[in-house]
């Protein structure tokens, strides 16, 4: 049995794309842009499934960890 190793898998996931939903570097970004669907409940504000949710991603729109040129301030 072959374990197929995706050469992309060593590239870290893009924080902006995953958490903020936008990365200004687009296709030129050095990090991976992993396309996801958002959990519709989480989009509303709350999903009881938490980290085990299978309805979609629960992106953390968190500030202060942003890489690159995007600068967000939320208070």
């Amino acid at each position: 049995v072959y374990l197929h190793v995706d050469p992309q898998s060593k590239i870290p996931e893009c924080y902006n794309y995953t958490n903020l939903g936008f990365c200004p570097d687009g296709p030129n970004c050095q990090r991976r842009h992993i396309r996801k669907a958002m959990c519709p409940m989480f989009l509303t504000g709350f999903c009881p499934n938490g980290p085990k949710c299978e309805l979609g991603a629960h992106p953390k729109f968190k500030l202060g960890l942003i890489q690159g040129q995007l600068k967000f301030k939320i208070y």
Binding site: M41, T44, G45
Partner: protein, 60 residues
């Protein structure tokens, strides 16, 4: 959307467990109380939102 009632019906409240990350469950910086306050404001039918009751329930 999940309302106050639904939240109270959930027997397990895994976001309260030690080590749980609230932001895995709540978006927009909500926690349990602020989420309930938001639901109450969203839904005028839940104008019976009673802060004292919410706090009491949370502490139980």
């Amino acid at each position: 959307p999940l309302t106050q009632l639904t939240l109270n019906e959930l027997k397990d409240k895994p976001w309260r467990l030690p080590g749980a990350d609230l932001s895995d469950y709540f978006n927009y910086g909500f926690d349990e109380i602020s989420w309930l306050a938001y639901c109450a404001k969203q839904d005028k039918l839940h104008a019976d939102f009673n802060p004292a009751k919410v706090i009491t329930e949370l502490l139980n």
